[in-house]
Every structure is written in structure tokens, then in C-alpha cells.
């Protein structure tokens, strides 16, 4: 595939790896922010090929993983109601809420449908005027614009039976929270290229300067990851901390103005809880006052939700890069993709699932877990 095969070329990969190996003189810890990048790293064995001094810490950028348990439980409650058609992207169906998931709701008679776009959910609403259609609007800056566009369309076309259950999150406040954590070991970031293709790079120079970390905007194919690592390592070795765009084929510094305008119109910034981490100020979006009628949380007064996170799940520390997945005592024993304790073991972009699926040949669960770091954002 044009622009895919080229970015998986083993010879080019070897040249990038040789450069990284030749450049590194001491240990460095880099965080790849996005779960898609984590997936690529583990699936292609990139971390096995890097110098031992370069450690990749897996960040909180898996939208499935960070959606709070309370929101999952609200989704389960709404989807269980008679007359509701609950639409979602596929990988949210297996995420455990308190005691069940959306697959379970469907098996109990709930009308839960997998769609590939929020606009598909809007079509379902138009085709079923007598029923309430709810779309599960989760994710980062990448999925927020199409969800915003869908709500905009629902209002414009006057489709009253459509609503959005919103749990959108933003990357820069999460980077801020991670850098503010006392246990933080991150010395450089591979920023999520798709997020930057929407938002641009304007939020990063200040973060890079204040925390003295290089931030390299990075893509998702193996060569993208290697180039991101290479540029970050070069900066670290030179003592620099600037924002660099290693994904220029998709990212313009100003981002996508049309998408930004849509976000500005439909959403407003709010504090948001991240599963396993806690509330991060200003890290989320909710529907703005003009579109509040399309907010499923308002439309369906979901109350009496009592969430219960498994106590032994340490996904919050994994999401903040404080521990590796296999440092959790539950990893691969009481917690597997078959019976996930936390969302990081559900989505293939979750670090725990990626480690389990692709790496358990060389990993055994830690018998003694690393000391628990305190997090300022818990």
C-alpha cells in the first residue's frame, strides 16, 4: 500500500536503528503517548531492537483504556433501557464496566450496534424515529471532530432522537500531569501524530520548554516510530528540548482549521476523570451549552451508579508510565484479555494487552511488584 509498505521497510529500519545505536551514550526514557504507537512498537518488536539504554515507557493514549469506569457503567445502563439503540465503535463492547460489558448487555436483549462512524449512528436515528439512538463518543482529539460534526448535523437537521454519551479527553493536560508526577522518569515524548494533525503543534512548545523535554510529533508505522525515537535521542544527547515534527506528511503546525472550528463550536473544555489516574484539570471536552440537548447524560438521568474497580488492578500506574505491565502481580495470572481486571488489558492498544498478546514468551508476571508511586492526579 502506498505510504504503508514504505514505512515498514526493513533496510530503512536498520539504517535508523544503526543511527540510534551510534548516537546513544547513556540511558534515556521516552514515552510514546498514543496507544496506537504502543501497539506498533510491541507488534513489530521495535523495543527489542532498540539499544538497551533507550527505554520506551507506554503512555496513557489509549482511548478505550482511559474511559472512566463510571462512564462505562452509564453506557451499560443506557444501553439496557428499552427503546434505546446504543451505537459504539467495536472495541468498546468488550471493556468491562462493573461486572459486565456491552456484549453482555446485548446478550440480555439490549440493542447494541457496532458502527464505523458516528454519522452511521445518526443514520440509525433517522431510520428509527420512534427510538432513542445514543452514540458512545469517546477518545482523544482524533475522534472528537467527527463526533462534534455529528452533533452539529443532528441539530442542523433537527434529529431529536440522537444523543452523544461524551467522554472525550485531551493529550496536553495528560502530558502535564505525567510530568508533574513525582515518580515520573520520562525524559522525552513521542507525541501522537494523529492528534497533532487535528490540533496542530501550538500547545507543545511551552510544555517542552517548561519541563525541558524534547517532544517529537510521531506517526504510527514502524519507521515513523524509529524516526521519532531517533530525533528524540539526538535532542537528548545534545541537551536540547524542542518540538520537532517527524510526521510532516500528516501534520501541519496549525493543525486542521475546519476541525478546530467544529470543536470550538460544539464542545467546551472541562475537567475529566481518566480511568486509573483520576481527574486531570482541563483534560476533557463536554458538549457546550448550545448542544446540551444532545448530551445523553442529560437526556437519560443515569443515577445510582456504583462503580467498583478491582483493587489489584494497577492500570493507573501503567497508564502513567510508572510501572511496566508485567510489574503488576495480576498480569497474566488473574488478569488476561480473557478476564481483564482493567481496560489496559482489553484494548489491543492497551499496554497490558499488548504485552500479554505479543510478549508473554519473554515475560513472566512479577512476583514482587514495584513500589507504588503516588500520583498527584489521583
Amino acid at each position: 500500500m502506498k505510504y504503508i509498505d514504505e514505512f515498514q521497510d526493513p533496510d530503512l529500519a536498520r539504517r535508523l536503528l544503526d543511527d540510534i545505536h551510534a548516537t546513544v551514550t547513556r540511558p534515556w526514557a521516552l514515552m510514546e503517548v498514543c496507544g496506537g504507537q504502543t501497539h506498533t512498537i510491541i507488534r513489530h518488536g521495535i523495543d527489542q531492537l532498540l539499544p538497551e539504554q533507550v527505554e520506551l515507557i507506554h503512555g496513557p493514549g489509549c482511548p478505550v483504556c482511559v474511559t472512566p469506569l463510571e462512564v462505562i457503567d452509564k453506557a451499560l445502563e443506557i444501553a439496557s433501557r428499552p427503546g434505546v439503540i446504543f451505537c459504539s465503535f467495536g472495541d468498546m463492547l468488550r471493556v468491562p464496566g462493573t461486572g459486565r460489558d456491552l456484549f453482555q448487555v446485548r446478550s440480555e436483549g439490549g440493542d447494541v450496534r457496532v458502527v464505523y462512524s458516528p454519522l452511521d449512528a445518526l443514520k440509525v436515528a433517522q431510520q428509527n424515529p420512534g427510538r432513542e439512538v445514543v452514540f458512545f463518543g469517546i477518545g482523544f482529539e482524533t475522534t472528537a471532530p467527527p463526533n462534534a460534526m455529528t452533533v452539529y448535523q443532528a441539530k442542523k437537521l433537527g434529529i431529536p432522537n440522537f444523543s452523544l454519551l461524551v467522554s472525550h479527553v485531551r493529550v496536553p493536560p495528560a502530558i502535564e500531569a505525567i510530568m508533574g508526577s513525582p515518580g515520573c522518569r520520562v525524559q522525552g515524548f513521542l507525541a501522537a501524530g494523529h492528534v497533532c494533525s487535528v490540533m496542530g503543534m501550538g500547545e507543545y512548545p511551552e510544555l517542552a520548554a517548561r519541563h525541558r523535554v524534547p517532544i517529537v510529533v510521531t506517526g504510527f508505522e514502524p519507521l515513523d516510530i524509529l524516526e521519532g525515537v531517533r530525533r528524540a535521542v539526538h535532542q537528548l544527547e545534545r541537551g536540547e528540548h524542542t518540538v520537532d515534527n517527524a510526521y510532516a506528511r500528516a501534520v501541519r503546525p496549525e493543525g486542521n482549521p475546519a476541525a478546530l472550528a467544529m470543536l470550538e463550536d460544539v464542545f467546551e473544555v472541562t475537567d475529566r476523570a481518566w480511568r486509573g489516574i483520576g481527574i486531570i484539570p482541563g483534560s476533557g471536552w463536554r458538549l457546550s451549552e448550545r448542544y446540551r440537548d444532545f448530551d445523553a447524560e442529560h437526556r437519560f438521568s443515569v443515577t445510582g451508579i456504583t462503580t467498583l474497580e478491582p483493587a489489584e488492578c494497577r492500570s493507573g500506574e501503567v497508564l502513567q508510565g510508572l510501572i511496566k505491565p508485567n510489574a503488576c502481580e495480576a498480569f497474566g495470572t488473574t488478569c488476561t484479555p480473557r478476564n481483564p481486571l482493567g481496560a489496559t488489558m482489553v484494548s489491543s492498544e492497551g499496554a497490558c494487552a499488548a504485552y500479554y498478546l505479543y510478549r508473554r514468551l519473554e515475560l513472566t508476571p512479577a512476583r514482587t511488584a514495584a513500589p507504588l508511586e503516588t500520583s498527584p492526579v489521583a
Binding site: 526493513p10 478505550v64 467495536g90 453482555q104 446485548r106 477518545g139
Partner: protein
């Protein structure tokens, strides 16, 4: 709940979910922990795609499969083609050439008779092409809203030639793993029409009867160790089933696995792994190393094996696990899928 055996992993699923029919770990657990204990027969314990039984001194392969595909007609075939070829291929994986099929129809009230006729004609044509006779059948009708138009079950029998013993337990380290052609084609063809997804290129199902290809392989040597047609759960599920049943490890070279560009592109768009996407006209073979070249030549001489290629080998390391060497030189575990693959959010 008398059928539960301990440990009972199904207890966390008080109701059936779609994954129980996905050909992955949930399907396997349903069979192993609920059906097998309930039925309790020694033949069922083989847990193959078809059962090898001896009746009156004759070795038979016996298999059944149900077809619930939507849409009923898709690029490259229909539910009728699948219903014949699926069971024919299950028998072929035992080395048997299918002789007779049964056809059980569950029709939904209101489905157009012309649709039923098209499906029946497709089945007839597929049966003739596969050299098998539909010898018995049954029809039931359910009320409107209780089915997707047409469900079909076919069962089949065929003779297993003397000297042929295809079982995963025969796999030994050193066996060469061969796949008969491009993978993931059927699954992507179905997705493209079922979900209304446009991948920018027409892709047709690879649905085909594999009996002839298998016979040409057995003509080289009856000493093939195991064959699988990697349908639900794809190549990954088939390799995992063989690894677990044989106790051998399996190593595949990811770059050697033939994934056609339209399949790779569709999977890239949806966040799916081609190794887990269904096939309907492909097989994977574990062949003793000394016969591998000759078997590969025989496969390539057959129209349905023209693109056959070696993708890996059985090894003594990591028993029961399938490991892929990645294109960049790393390694990763290729796990048994849990249920059906789910498209990723972003």
C-alpha cells in the same frame, strides 16, 4: 449446570455472546467445558474440523457446519457456496474426498422464494463442482424476525484413503508450515458488503472446494501430518489449535505470509490483523521436511494452490505457542483470538 467442568471459565458469561461463535478461545471453551462433557463420546474428544470414524471396517470422515452469513450473496459467492464448500473442506482436511452431504434449511417467514431458489441453485452448482451429492435434507420455517432470511446446516461424509492419518498430534518439530495462498480474502470481501465499507478496490471471496488440492498433495505423499482450513479466526486460530493440540511450538515469518494489498489495506483501515481474518478457500499444511518441496510443487501445480508458500515451521521451543518473526527482526506471540476481532476506535 451439570455440564460444567472445573475450572469453569464460562461462569463469567451467564448468557451466550457473539464471541462464542467466533472460532476463538470463547468458542473452544464452550465446546470443551459445556458440549464435550455433555456428550461425552471418545470421537468428539478429537475436536477436529471433522471426525474420523470407523464403520464396518471403513474409515470415514464425518463433519457438520452451520452457515449464518449476512449478506446471503457477496462478491465471489453466496451462503449456498459456503454451505457446500465449507463442509467439503472440513472433510478434505481429514484427507477425505466428500461423497454425500445433507442440507438443512431454516427459512425465515417472508423471505422471497426467488432468493431461496438462487441459494439452492448455487448449492447445486457448488456440489457438482466439488463432486459431492446432496443426498438428504430438511426444511423448517421460523416466524418473521427470528432469522436472517436463510440459515443452512450441512453435514457430510467421505472416505479417508488408506495410509492417511491427518491429526495435529502427528506434528513434530521440523515440520514445514505451508499455506496454499493469499489469506484474509473472504473475511474482507464479507466486511466490504456487510458494513458498507468501500476499500477502493473490488475484492471477491476465495470460497472454493479444496478436495482436489488435497488429493494432489496426498498423491505426493500420504504422510502429511495435519491440514486445516483457516476459516473463523483465520490463520492465527488454525495455527494455535495445531500448536496446542500437538504440543509443538510454531514459528512463522510474518513477511512470508501472503497478504494481498486489498486485505492489508482494509485491515490497516479497520485496525484488524490479517492473520485473524477468515478464509474459505485456503488451507494450511504441516508437512514433514523431507516432503515439503515436493508437496509445495504439487500445490503450485493446482489452480487453488498456485500461490502456495512456506510460512514457517514447527519447533521444539515454546510448546503450544505460535510466534511470528516480524518484518523488522523482532518477535511476537500470535495468540488465539478471544472472539471476533473488533474494529479499533482510532
Amino acid at each position: 449446570m451439570l455440564a460444567w467442568t472445573c475450572p469453569a471459565p464460562l461462569r463469567d458469561r451467564p448468557r451466550v455472546v457473539m464471541g462464542h461463535g467466533g472460532g476463538g478461545a470463547l468458542s473452544a471453551e464452550l465446546v470443551q467445558h459445556l458440549f464435550a462433557p455433555a456428550f461425552g463420546g471418545p470421537v468428539l474428544a478429537q475436536l477436529g474440523d471433522s471426525a474420523a470414524v470407523t464403520l464396518g471396517g471403513v474409515r470415514l470422515a464425518f463433519s457438520t457446519d452451520s452457515y449464518v452469513v449476512r449478506p446471503l450473496f457477496f462478491p465471489g459467492g453466496s451462503i449456498g457456496d459456503l454451505a457446500v464448500n465449507g463442509t467439503v473442506n472440513d472433510l478434505a482436511m481429514s484427507g477425505a474426498r466428500a461423497a454425500y452431504l445433507s442440507a438443512g434449511f431454516i427459512l425465515e417467514e417472508g423471505v422471497e422464494m426467488s432468493v431461496v431458489a438462487r441459494v439452492a441453485e448455487a448449492m447445486g452448482a457448488a456440489a457438482r463442482a466439488a463432486g459431492v451429492e446432496v443426498a438428504t435434507g430438511d426444511t423448517k420455517v421460523v416466524e418473521a424476525g427470528h432469522g436472517d432470511g436463510i440459515y443452512i446446516n450441512t453435514a457430510g461424509i467421505g472416505l479417508i484413503p488408506a495410509g492417511v492419518d491427518l491429526r495435529p498430534q502427528r506434528v513434530v518439530p521440523g515440520d514445514v508450515v505451508i499455506v496454499s495462498g493469499a489469506i484474509g480474502v473472504h473475511g474482507v470481501a464479507i466486511m466490504s458488503v456487510r458494513e458498507g465499507l468501500e476499500f477502493g478496490v473490488d475484492i471477491a471471496s476465495d470460497c472454493a472446494p479444496l478436495g482436489g488440492l488435497v488429493q494432489s498433495m496426498l498423491a505426493v505423499t500420504p504422510d502429511l501430518h495435519v491440514l486445516r482450513d483457516p476459516t473463523r479466526g483465520g490463520l492465527a486460530a488454525a495455527l494455535n489449535e495445531i500448536a496446542q493440540a500437538s504440543g509443538a511450538g510454531v514459528v512463522i515469518d510474518e513477511r512470508a505470509v501472503p497478504v494481498p494489498p486489498p486485505v492489508a489495506n482494509a485491515c490497516a483501515i479497520l485496525g484488524l490483523d490479517p492473520l485473524y481474518v477468515a478464509n474459505e478457500g485456503k488451507l494450511v499444511a504441516f508437512v514433514p521436511r523431507e516432503h515439503a518441496d515436493a508437496v509445495l510443487d504439487a500445490m503450485r501445480a493446482h489452480p487453488l494452490g498456485a500461490d502456495a508458500t512456506v510460512i514457517g515451521e514447527a519447533v521444539a521451543d515454546h510448546p503450544g505457542l505460535v510466534v511470528a518473526r516480524t518484518g523488522l527482526g523482532g518477535t511476537r506471540v500470535v495468540d488465539l483470538p478471544l472472539g471476533e476481532q473488533l474494529p479499533r476506535i482510532c
